[in-house]
Symmetry: C2
Subunit: 538 residues, 2 copies
């Protein structure tokens, strides 16, 4: 019994409605008063003065543009179209043409993930995303995990190779997106990149050696604006390249973009943002303060560690229901395919449903007293058949073992513990959280009811939870259409406190309690009905 | 009878004592706290934070410097020496080396004159000029006057040639100065250039075509900072090149530098600055307002038009006295040479003394009633023998004709008229002027007593007058050792009102009166005793 489902459509509507329509690059046609004896300011100064009148101040001019500006001004009878780019404390003239121009002004936002790169092409005048692409990170052959890549990059030539791999992918994908839309890459005047600290360093060809050894120091947290020509990117040669700043080695630009995407830093009410990647990264706070920490919690949740786990994608079971009476299993597979494994949300659903049906005890062990053909013995010990061989892609039974479940429970316990610790650090209760954002693909697929049932997420009203999808790409795109967010980034960077999690006795005790279903203290999860069968054998 | 005198020594002490010791480029050694787990800011941000603590804020970092900064920081055990350059609204790291460095920090100031270039080499840490050179402007073969050069430069290739001539001279002279002092040109971190609007355009290779035709519009009044490498100058490749801004086509960076040199823009009291070049340029005002105008007055005063006139230099008579009883002439020649001609101050002395001795009437004609062998007839009409052939370099009598004197009187009348017009424009009397600065070589040589006697300068107390020498070079040097003057320049540019002189009846009437000695209204010059003989024949 299964229900096939299309993967989530790759929506282009990723921009929240609270953005100010103040793009990072603006095309502006203006008529400058022609010079007279009584008003004989120089050509360039005349343009700068007119731009100031129209709100662009201060404007910087490249020394090599002085003559061309004068020429175009006069060619256009003192009516010109300028494209000006914003860089936090000033504007710069990126292009100037005589007369009126209605050519589009484009931008590209990039989520620079360690496993995938996601590209968004935006029309900055309309403030909309017009195309998106996603590619595997071309560095993967040089290290599945980022630490391997850092070791590889200790040689400067190899570091340059890792950078060149990224740049080639950028060149290729950006050019393809523009061609697909019939647009000139020379109309791309800005490119924003949000990645974790190491990926941002790789992108800029910076030394990563000190990121991974105590005291974990990046070369830079803030990166100066670069130009398209600096990296030979298929965009306007003077186009702005902005790499999101990081807070430190373990708090990168991707998470900064995530904060922007949530908007939590602008709200009075308390919000919490969780990004589940290799680490679970957590940010708690509001417009006045922000606290962050990270901890190993992720792999099982992303479906990457358990035996039949997989990333959310075609063939992944992402939804499971179990009839508590018949113990019959219903599942849903991404894409029109037979199931190959379970992604994070599928695994969470499975464990929650097994627990609710009494197949799993509160300790996370299989209830062998139950008359259930799906409980089987495997080479890895007892397991549960989610799908019989007749239904699966490889013809083998899709079994999740007690060991796999144990891994998931450790992950969810780590997550819950981190959430409690960070809340306690600032003396708030998780109950006070007004909005709980879950970033990443994981956040779009997860069912908070199920996550609460297994005790991974706190027992909050369901409308508190909101999946944000690719927050790095979203934040990167948002900065393109609302430059005021550049100031937000600085403010967030200054406000945020990053807390190191120290492993101590208290933490271990708390963690152990959280490995239970839903917790050794069920009072923390009043909404979760614990079936009697799950208490059997205790 | 003559008295030889050395030319004025090329003094290195051109900097006024009121400057703040705040050089445009600063070398600063600092120890940055090494990173710890509790203080794990990135390397570059750590340096920027420490620089901010030490008063350098905001600091901009070149993207390609991120890795080198991190490397040098660590190589020096977190003690580094930075050289930071100031650019009005921010600092930039120009050089960074591990450990402590006491290498000198040098700057070069240039007076970019249309006939001569003057170079000053400065030690920016000591705030002193250590060498100076002067060269003829290498563009002279392409046009003695600037208009000819503008016509020549209408072809872009020729414009580039004119630029390259200047740059070659810069490269040559700067390299020679550094070598002479045993210093590396790579230690030159700033170069400032003060020239008139056209010369500044030539230096930057900008189009000058619109400067000389109505409504007289330069390409730019403000020039962005350039780098040494942009112009292949023998200095640090990232060293700052600052070209003084101009107010308009007829009010250039040289005069802006002159205002700085006078300090008039910072004082409560009223000052007047006169720069006598091809035009007489006049600035009147104080810390609250400034008004400027220019008019053709100069050539005769610079000694360039009258027959035996010459620039102040070896062989030029720059001082003359005439015994009113014997009518004997005493003169002084620049350099250990026989006289070749008269420079501006010599000519003014001569006319003033001839007037005082009654050799000249108040109309400026020779008093032929006087029994004086020096009054002779020449092919150009009546003249006065300043030096007999036996004394001169070419063995010919050095004669100044009535026509020459007439040219001088027109020049001095123009000057006096301009001074009166500008004062009247703002409703002040010339008597209210607290300081009267005379710029240029002319200003160093002229004797105000004599200039008042011929009615060129107003009859003010003698201590009102002050010669400033090369104000363009001085102002350019001052900005190097006191960066706060960059803000002054902006303020002056915004404050100054440039007045066009319109030729009208009133002006012509006033001018005619001023061609007399000292004036048709002698009440304007109470200190000048008019000899009865000068009234003869009226």
């Amino acid at each position: 019994m299964k229900e096939n489902r299309q993967p989530l459509p790759d929506s282009l509507e990723i921009l929240p409605d609270w953005l100010s329509p103040k793009p990072m690059v603006v095309q502006h046609t203006l008529s400058v008063p022609p010079p007279r004896l009584e008003d004989n300011t120089a050509d360039v100064d005349r343009l700068v003065r007119a731009l100031r009148r129209d709100g662009f101040f201060p404007v910087r001019v490249d020394p090599w543009d002085l003559d061309p500006i004068s020429q175009e001004l006069r060619r256009g009878g003192f009516t010109v179209t300028v494209v000006v780019g914003y860089q936090e404390d000033h504007w710069e003239i990126l292009e100037l043409t005589a007369g009126t121009s209605r050519d589009p002004v484009l931008g590209v936002a990039v989520d620079l993930g360690s496993s995938r790169l996601a590209f968004y092409l935006l029309d900055l005048e309309k403030g909309i995303v017009i195309d998106r692409r996603s590619e595997p990170n071309p560095q993967i052959p040089y290290g599945e995990d980022i630490l391997t890549r850092i070791v590889y990059a200790s040689d400067p030539d190899k570091r340059r190779r890792l950078q060149e791999l990224l740049l080639s992918a950028f060149r290729d994908v950006v050019a393809r997106m523009a061609a697909h839309k019939g647009l000139e890459t020379s109309r791309i005047f800005a490119l924003t990149v949000a990645g974790n600290t190491t990926m941002s360093h790789f992108f800029l060809g910076l030394n990563t050696a000190n990121i991974c050894k105590e005291p974990y120091i990046p070369v830079a947290n803030r990166f100066p604006f670069l130009r398209g020509r600096d990296l030979a990117l298929p965009m306007h040669p003077k186009g702005l390249v902005f790499v999101f700043p990081n807070v430190g080695s373990y708090f990168g630009g991707d998470l900064m973009a995530g904060i922007l995407a949530s908007g939590m830093h602008r709200r009075e009410e308390l919000s919490l943002l969780v990004d589940v990647g290799t680490n679970a990264e957590v940010v708690l706070g509001n417009k006045d303060w922000l606290i962050a920490c990270a901890g190993a919690a992720g792999p099982a949740l992303e479906g990457g560690v358990v035996e039949r786990g997989m990333m959310a994608g075609p063939g992944a079971i992402d939804w499971v229901r179990i009839d508590p009476h018949t113990l019959d299993v219903q599942y849903r597979v991404i894409g029109q395919e037979k199931p190959k494994g379970l992604c994070g949300s599928g695994l969470i659903d499975l464990v929650a449903e097994m627990f609710m049906a009494g197949i799993l005890t509160i300790r996370g062990t299989l209830n062998r007293n139950l008359p259930c053909a799906r409980i089987v013995d495997t080479d890895n010990g007892p397991g549960f058949v989610v799908a019989w061989g007749a239904e699966t892609a490889d013809g083998r039974d899709l079994v999740v073992s007690e060991i796999d479940i144990g891994i998931l429970l450790k992950s969810k316990a780590a997550m819950y513990t981190i959430l409690n610790i960070i809340a306690r650090k600032v003396g708030v209760s998780l109950q006070e959280i007004h909005k709980f954002y879950v970033a990443g693909t994981f956040g779009n697929h997860i069912d908070p009811v199920m996550a609460i049932r297994i005790g991974m997420l706190p027992d909050l009203p369901l409308d508190t939870y909101e999946g944000l999808g690719n927050t790095a790409g979203r934040g990167a795109a948002m900065v393109l259409v609302d430059r005021t967010l550049l100031k937000d980034l600085e403010q967030v960077r200054n406000q945020i406190t990053y807390v190191e999690l120290n492993v101590n006795v208290e933490l271990m005790h708390e963690f152990r309690g959280a490995t239970f279903l839903p917790h050794t203290d069920p009072g923390l999860f009043p909404s979760v009905p614990i079936p009697d069968r799950a208490k059997e054998g205790l």
